[in-house]
Point group: C2
Chain length 163, copies 2
């Protein structure tokens, strides 16, 4: 699958919401309100504190989106934090991996020294395995930090890698 | 030291800023910009997403302040997150401990099931020891997550306890 990844434009908002909505409604991977409205979700995902990108396939269709930002301010501003979502009908085709690899390069180019994921739901084993393949280590495990709508109380992982 | 802890009022803002300013300027414990302006700092500390409290001594002087909020939204909203600052000239008199104990009670009363600190600078050994005495466990250690102005790159700890 050939992917083109570029910064999101205002005109991508509808496509981004199409991707975000089922993930937010399912409530299984992101700690966001399951009833979050479109405007609030887009304000979060495309907020001024973030760089937001879209991955488009050869037909120009947006099949994934991610954001990056500084994980902390001040003395923590050298560490990047990103979040990724793949369109449901584009899963299993390497979109997440391509976006993650793209984000690592962009974060390094932007001067970040490391990347951290603060809240990887432990039951999201596909994501955990992918991050580990990409060099991330599990540096923290918060017991029962996430109330999964199907599985109940689930651990959340903190993952990290240097850039 | 007899302390009275109550929700902060708008009129406490000047006293809160007096306590926050030297801590922010020092940049050794909070991941906030060292040059953060008063208005931005107060908007952060007393933000709508937080409950902010002040600890006053027997003379009514504000000697400490803390905030609590949900650490995450959605499936993570059952975990509280708090931050504490003690006035420089009131250190070593149990103010931090009193505020922490107060926050644990209030968080439990508010229905939170646990409390998590996301970013305890590892060199802040007094805080780490106090949290451990109060039942918090170190559940994560992010390498070099904080650029300490004196010590350089320092780990940050994730700490957690059930309520």
């Amino acid at each position: 699958m050939t992917l083109h990844i570029r910064p999101a434009l205002a005109e991508d908002a509808a496509a981004i919401w199409q991707i975000l909505e089922p993930v937010i409604r399912a409530g299984e991977t992101y700690a966001l309100p399951r009833d979050m409205a479109e405007a609030a979700a887009l304000a979060y995902w495309m907020g001024a504190d973030k760089q937001t990108l879209v991955a488009r396939d050869a037909q120009g269709r947006v099949v994934g989106t991610y954001y990056c930002r500084a994980n902390q301010a001040g003395g923590g501003a050298h560490v990047a934090n990103c979040g990724y979502v793949v369109a449901q009908d584009a899963r299993g085709r390497g979109v997440a991996r391509a976006m993650a690899e793209d984000s690592l390069v962009r974060a390094r180019d932007s001067g970040f020294a490391a990347m951290q994921f603060n809240f990887v739901v432990a039951s999201n084993t596909g994501a955990v395995a992918l991050w580990q393949k990409l060099g991330f280590a599990i540096v923290g495990r918060v017991p029962h930090a996430f109330d999964h709508p199907v599985l109940g109380l689930t651990d959340a992982l903190v993952m990290h890698r240097a850039l």
